[in-house]
């Protein structure tokens, strides 16, 4: 759907130029705000990544080249060692963990979110109540919900093991956060629980945008509900869905607080943002941690661009 009249009469062109002028006028406040809020902090982070900055002395940091990313040291013995983020196994392990987490959780959340949104879009008694209720997990601050889950998942005192034992799903108490076999599963589960409302609500808003008579017409024609979903609902809700997935993906690949609170030091769940924070704050290597953040930024950028290309998300808004 083209939103702007194509080339036409001179009057139209003049109108068009006027529209572009006011468009920039409309954009300026947002751009200025983002520049103030984001430009300095972001460029500082990138600068730190090329410096020897430590948290204790970040204001007098010295230029350090790419040594945070990659450096070669020749030992007295003649052996050559490589250091830096790009050859750091702990970092690549974190990248692997993050993607494992991101792909599983975003897929799960999208599918479930779509299902929940469809339910909430249907007419039934108590819809308002259900709609408010599903938002609860999102509404509880992560600081708190991670603690609630940590408490429920405690192996001896937690209710989660108790329920599973009563239902005979497990035969002995499981240490969900400590056992390296389960820790990633646990993080995915809690994250899905927490962010499902976000997905469901965004998709629901997309569904609301679909005019009701489209469905009425389909029903009159006797189209099978599955076919309605596949051929009408999904294409119409796709733009909203794509944007929801982008933002979920960005959040998932930057996941920090849940892991930080539930399983802060497990190498099975340590993600890119967690390891970056660890280097910046705990180990006082602001430069190194910033280099990790910068690589994370690049990885995200590539991922999102690939997603937009492959998913054919329409940035320009023209067909």
């Amino acid at each position: 759907m083209s939103s702007v009249p194509e080339n036409g009469t001179p009057i139209r062109n003049e109108l068009f130029a006027g529209r572009v002028r006011s468009a920039w006028l409309f954009l300026t406040p947002m751009i200025v705000t983002l520049l103030i809020v984001a430009a300095w902090p972001l460029s500082r982070s990138i600068w730190f990544s090329f410096s020897d900055a430590s948290l204790g002395h970040f204001r007098d940091a010295q230029f350090y080249g790419i040594k945070n990313y990659f450096k070669t040291i020749t030992m007295d013995s003649g052996a050559i060692h490589h250091f830096g983020v790009l050859v750091d196994p702990a970092w690549w392990n974190a990248v692997y963990n993050t993607f494992r987490f991101g792909i599983v959780s975003v897929t799960l959340e999208t599918v479930l979110g779509l299902a929940v949104a469809l339910v909430l879009n249907a007419n039934f008694k108590g819809r308002g109540f259900v709609r408010a209720a599903i938002l609860i997990p999102w509404a509880i601050p992560t600081v708190v919900s991670a603690k609630i889950w940590g408490w429920m998942l405690n192996d001896q005192l937690g209710i989660f093991n108790d329920i599973l034992l009563r239902l005979h799903i497990i035969s002995e108490k499981i240490a969900w956060t400590a056992d390296s076999n389960y820790s990633m599963f646990t993080i995915v589960m809690v994250d899905t629980w927490k962010t499902l409302p976000f997905m469901a609500l965004l998709i629901l808003a997309g569904l609301q945008q679909i005019p009701g008579d489209v469905y009425e017409a389909a029903e009159v024609d006797g189209v099978h509900p599955l076919s309605v979903f596949w051929n009408i609902t999904l294409p119409l809700v796709r733009p909203a869905l794509m944007v929801a997935v982008i933002f979920r993906m960005l959040d998932a690949l930057r996941i920090f607080d849940l892991v930080y609170i539930l399983t802060p030091n497990s190498s099975q769940t340590k993600t890119m943002a967690v390891i970056s924070r660890e280097n910046m704050f705990d180990f006082d290597k602001l430069g190194y941690g910033s280099a990790e953040s910068t690589v994370l930024f690049l990885i995200l950028l590539i991922t999102v661009i690939a997603y937009i290309k492959i998913g054919r998300v329409n940035l320009e808004g023209n067909n």
Partner: protein, 419 residues
């Protein structure tokens, strides 16, 4: 008159205080909690009455990792709004650059404190923080259960494990655990494991002269012993436990032994506790030959920021809070271990807090974490250590291999010397 001044200034706020030359407002950040916070507030109110210096407490979350990151950032950015920082015993070398040297100001009182604690707060000959209380863990044991099986409080780790097994086997209660400790991969595990290693004669990870000593058979033996507990006398979940999880299991009567800090003593004796009156504490067990009991040194200190605009007043305030008088009150009201030696012999303390006197023995066997020799690298050293220990306890590699790897990583980290 002074009381009236304080009152009026509180009422009239800034305008009046500007006129009164005496009144100064200071901010002190502290991760202290509940009773401690109330205690500090009350004592600071007294201090304001005496001196006209108002110290306002800015509470912080109790997670020490979070506090450390914040303080570091605030200090690095030259935050002039915070005058006094309450610091963990291991932070001194890492924050030293931005803290005021207290050597002169405290020269009359340092000799009253335990020398080892003063030493831990001295960096390159500069005293950066004054201790307000110290902390050291002990072994909690269920007197009633040990008596039932005619067992004495254990003196060595192996005795402890054997006693735990005897009791749990005898009780036939699936919920009863033998021993709970802090096995999560975090600073607490460094404390626990340092005690196992040190008490087994395996050194203290990095020695005072900076030598990396952790890769030795005694240390490996100590870790293998601890690994043997997990899944037998200790639940597998202990690998996720911090202090509160251990206390949760213990206080509901589901454990025979627990390694924990003094705070669990008074909580365990509350009316709603399942173990009230049924337990006691002894110093942590020793390892085999060549080892004695070892307890990791904890505790809190006060430091003045270099960026404070009221340094003399701030120093006055911390001298007050670290004084023998306040430490005695802290011992009596909050059951905290004083750092001033004479307070342990005080008649009131002996009469009202016998447990503290008992804890003096624990404290005398205290071992510091290697924060002084490893300087700004301590957090990374500790992280590498607890990771190696956690891997060993979870069965990823033998203690010998993991400690070998750890030594290599520490050597790399040390480079040409700890900085």
């Amino acid at each position: 008159m002074k009381i009236k001044t304080a009152l009026t200034s509180a009422l009239l706020g800034m305008s009046f205080m500007a006129a009164s030359a005496m009144a100064v407002d200071l901010n002190m950040v502290s991760g202290a909690t509940g009773g401690d916070l109330a205690f500090d507030t009350a004592k600071l109110a007294d201090f304001a009455k005496e001196t006209g210096i108002n110290v306002k407490l800015v509470p912080m979350p109790s997670s020490t990792t979070d506090q450390f990151g914040q303080y570091k950032l605030w200090l690095a950015a030259g935050n002039a709004d915070i005058d006094i920082y309450q610091t963990d015993v291991i932070w001194a070398p890492q924050l030293a650059d931005q803290l005021v040297d207290l050597t002169d100001a405290a020269k009359d009182v340092v000799k009253d404190h335990f020398p080892s604690i003063i030493q831990s707060q001295t960096v390159n000959g500069k005293l950066v923080a004054l201790p307000v209380f110290t902390d050291a863990p002990a072994l909690y044991y269920r007197k009633d259960l040990l008596d039932k099986y005619k067992l004495a409080a254990p003196k060595t780790w192996d005795e402890m494990a054997k006693a735990a097994k005897t009791v749990t086997d005898g009780e036939k209660n699936a919920d009863l655990q033998g021993f709970v400790f802090q096995g999560n991969a975090y600073e607490g595990l460094t404390c626990d494991a340092l005690e196992w290693v040190k008490s087994n004669g395996g050194g203290q990870i990095v020695e005072a002269d900076g030598k990396i000593s952790i890769n030795n058979p005694k240390a490996a033996e100590a870790l293998e012993r601890a690994k043997g507990w997990v899944g037998t006398i200790s639940p597998k979940g202990v690998l996720a436990y911090q202090e509160e999880e251990s206390r949760g299991v213990w206080q509901t009567g589901k454990a025979v032994f627990m390694r924990n800090w003094p705070y669990a003593f008074s909580l365990g004796n509350k009316d709603d506790s399942a173990v009230k009156g049924k337990f006691d504490v002894v110093p942590l067990p020793a390892g085999g030959e060549g080892g004695g009991s070892a307890a990791t040194l904890g505790g809190w200190n006060l430091a003045v920021s270099k960026y404070s605009k009221h340094q003399p007043e701030a120093i006055k305030a911390i001298l007050y809070l670290a004084s023998a008088k306040i430490q005695k009150a802290n011992a009596l009201e909050q059951t905290h271990l004083p750092t001033v030696v004479s307070v342990y012999d005080d008649a009131d303390v002996k009469a009202k807090q016998p447990v503290l006197v008992k804890w003096k023995d624990v404290f005398l066997a205290a071992v510091p974490r290697p924060s002084a020799p490893t300087k700004t690298k301590y957090n990374e050293v500790s992280n590498l250590f607890w990771t190696a220990v956690h891997d060993t306890l979870s069965g990823n590699g033998s203690a010998k291999d993991n400690l070998g790897n750890l030594e290599a990583k520490l050597t790399e980290l040390k480079g040409d010397g700890w900085k």
